[in-house]
């Protein structure tokens, strides 16, 4: 595929991904992935030491859905909203057709509880390491590893990065 067309397609996917999470359409989030898939939020310190434990580890679309249902129905946390800023994208197409993408992300979190209503802070910074494949003309995430520099999580992590 043409290098620039591919880059455009990956950029479009990442923008759609960010919009999905930032506009609280979490139910659509699992559809960005293949099934099975890998979505993991990995603290940078674990990655550097070769340690396997992740903050979130899902290896099927079902597990992603379970995270969303838990977010909606089970878990208790303060209301908040995200803004993803994704930049420094690099895309590479492997000889076997799989596509790897690497990008820097920042997430600004705005708190919406009555005590801190409307306050925004840098919540998380890190890197996306994605593996993408074409499925019926659509780019899907086969793997997304979120390497979190901000491994000291402020309060809690419930909304996906």
């Amino acid at each position: 595929m043409d290098k620039y067309a591919l880059r455009c397609a990956v950029e479009e996917l990442l923008a759609a991904y960010a919009h999905c999470l930032d506009s609280d359409r979490l139910e659509e989030w699992p559809d960005f992935f293949t099934d099975p898939c890998l979505y993991q939020v990995l603290p940078r310190e674990n990655r550097e030491q070769g340690l396997p434990i992740a903050l979130i580890y899902c290896d099927s679309r079902g597990m992603l859905r379970d995270r969303v249902v838990a977010h909606r129905q089970a878990n208790i946390y303060g209301p908040h909203a995200y803004r993803h800023l994704i930049s420094n994208l690099r895309v590479c197409e492997e000889p076997d057709g799989t596509i790897t993408a690497q990008a820097t992300y920042t997430v600004l979190r705005t708190l919406l509880d009555p005590v801190r209503y409307g306050s925004t802070e840098v919540y998380s910074a890190g890197e996306y390491r994605d593996v993408l494949v074409w499925v019926e003309g659509q780019l899907k995430l086969r793997e997304k590893t979120v390497i979190v520099d901000t491994c000291r999580i402020d309060s809690l992590l419930v909304t996906p990065l």
């Binding site: 899902c58 859905r65 129905q73 878990n75």
Partner: protein
């Protein structure tokens, strides 16, 4: 000498807790002296984190930065991470391997035990400058802490008078630690969480079986933990440490009580699209949350094993560091199970993400009411072992011991185990 913090401490065996203890900077200061530098053992590391000579880990006892090291002969040491010369942080990395620690400011160098072994230009240059002739390097080592280990857990203390670690833990706590630390472990990773609440709100949370199935839907709905299960809370002789243990007896009867009570946390129709999350291996019966005063929690929930280190960060914040581990002899499948079940705990844990939030809700609500108090009477007003899971006995034990250690009460500590 700093004036003692002023507080009207109720004589209620910990059944009433004035919110001032979560708000008052003077109390926080006093805790650093009387608890974290007092006659206690603070958890600082697992031996498995620094197995080789020269391995070190930078951490904290209370808010004091320290370094835990392994010397050439394999012995474990700890020292305050503050240069004896002009006070700079000596060790500037969270972990690593070296047998010499050099302060970058003036290159004073210490060995892995904290002894001063090098001072640049000590005798001056060309007969000028340098230290006085009576300068004795032996007098200028890093401040050392006492170190002791039990079952591969490393504890440090500033106190010269604290009882030996095994005695400090006591027979009940040792027995529960032996249950988990029954063979060599392997560290699997870390998660860290910065919570905007006083550290003692978390100390209460991990001694509280009452909240566990009411706050946490995953516990109640999937029967991972329910107050209707078998189990109880066991304390050490002073009530400062606790073990919360639950196990399944009759699943149907346990569920019925939740269904009848109409609790939010029990949802009969809630299911997992991918139940592999909870498809673990039978390893330990039930669940265990064990606390060792003041800074350690040991957890076994399903197949997730972790120690949690509680680090106070000012009167209204603490950091919680989870160190996940398995056993050296875990097979590949077990490793996959532990990695998947880590989803349950930590800052993004389907169960435990809620605990930090609950403590923040308290901190936010009490802000202008230091004289008001919380009510800790579930299971009575005494500090004792209780074989049920609708009790706050462990929280009362914490506060009774805390009040005595802080000098808030002259009531002598009575042995709850006789």
């Amino acid at each position: 000498m700093q004036a003692a913090a002023q507080i009207a401490w109720p004589r209620t065996e910990g059944a009433r807790v004035p919110y001032q203890v979560f708000l008052d900077p003077a109390i926080y200061e006093q805790e650093q002296e009387r608890i974290f530098r007092g006659p206690t053992w603070s958890y600082v590391a697992l031996e498995a984190e620094f197995p080789r000579p020269g391995d070190f880990k930078a951490t904290f006892v209370g808010e004091t930065p320290i370094v835990v090291t392994r010397a050439r002969d394999g012995t474990v040491h700890a020292f305050v991470n503050r240069c004896a010369h002009r006070g700079a942080l000596v060790c500037r990395e969270p972990r690593g391997n070296r047998l010499r620690h050099t302060c970058v400011y003036h290159q004073w160098t210490y060995d892995a035990e904290g002894n001063l072994v090098g001072v640049p230009f000590r005798t001056g240059i060309d007969g000028k400058g340098g230290y006085p002739a009576d300068f004795d390097p032996k007098q200028h080592g890093l401040q050392k802490l006492r170190v002791a280990t039990y079952d591969g857990l490393v504890f440090a203390s500033f106190s010269a008078t604290v009882e030996p670690l095994a005695e400090y833990l006591g027979p009940t706590m040792r027995q529960w630690l032996d249950r988990i630390f029954n063979r060599p472990i392997r560290v699997l990773g870390y998660t860290r969480q910065f919570v905007h609440a006083n550290w003692k709100l978390y100390a209460e949370n991990v001694r509280d079986p009452y909240h566990a199935s009411l706050l946490h839907l995953f516990h109640a709905t999937f029967g991972l933990y329910r107050s209707t299960q078998g189990g109880g809370v066991w304390l050490d002789r002073l009530g400062r440490h606790s073990v919360l243990h639950s196990y399944r007896r009759d699943a149907e009867a346990e569920t019925a009580a939740y269904r009848q009570a109409g609790l939010r946390s029990y949802q009969a129709t809630y299911t997992l699209a991918d139940p592999s999350l909870l498809a673990g291996r039978q390893e330990f019966p039930g669940l265990v949350i064990q606390t060792i005063f003041p800074s350690l929690v040991v957890q076994q929930i399903q197949n997730t094993l972790a120690v949690r280190q509680i680090l106070p960060k000012g009167v209204d914040a603490f950091e919680l560091i989870f160190t996940f581990f398995g056993y050296e002899d875990d097979d590949e499948e077990m490793l996959r199970i532990r990695r998947k079940q880590a989803n349950l705990v930590g800052p993004a844990g389907l169960i435990s993400l809620e605990d930090g939030h609950a403590t923040e809700l308290v901190q936010q609500a009490i802000v202008r009411d230091p004289a008001a108090s919380s009510l800790v009477e579930m299971g009575g007003r005494t500090v004792e072992d209780q074989e049920n899971l609708v009790t706050e006995t462990g929280i009362r034990g914490f506060w009774r011991y805390y009040g005595a250690l802080m000098g808030f009460t002259d009531v002598p500590l009575e042995d709850s185990h006789g």
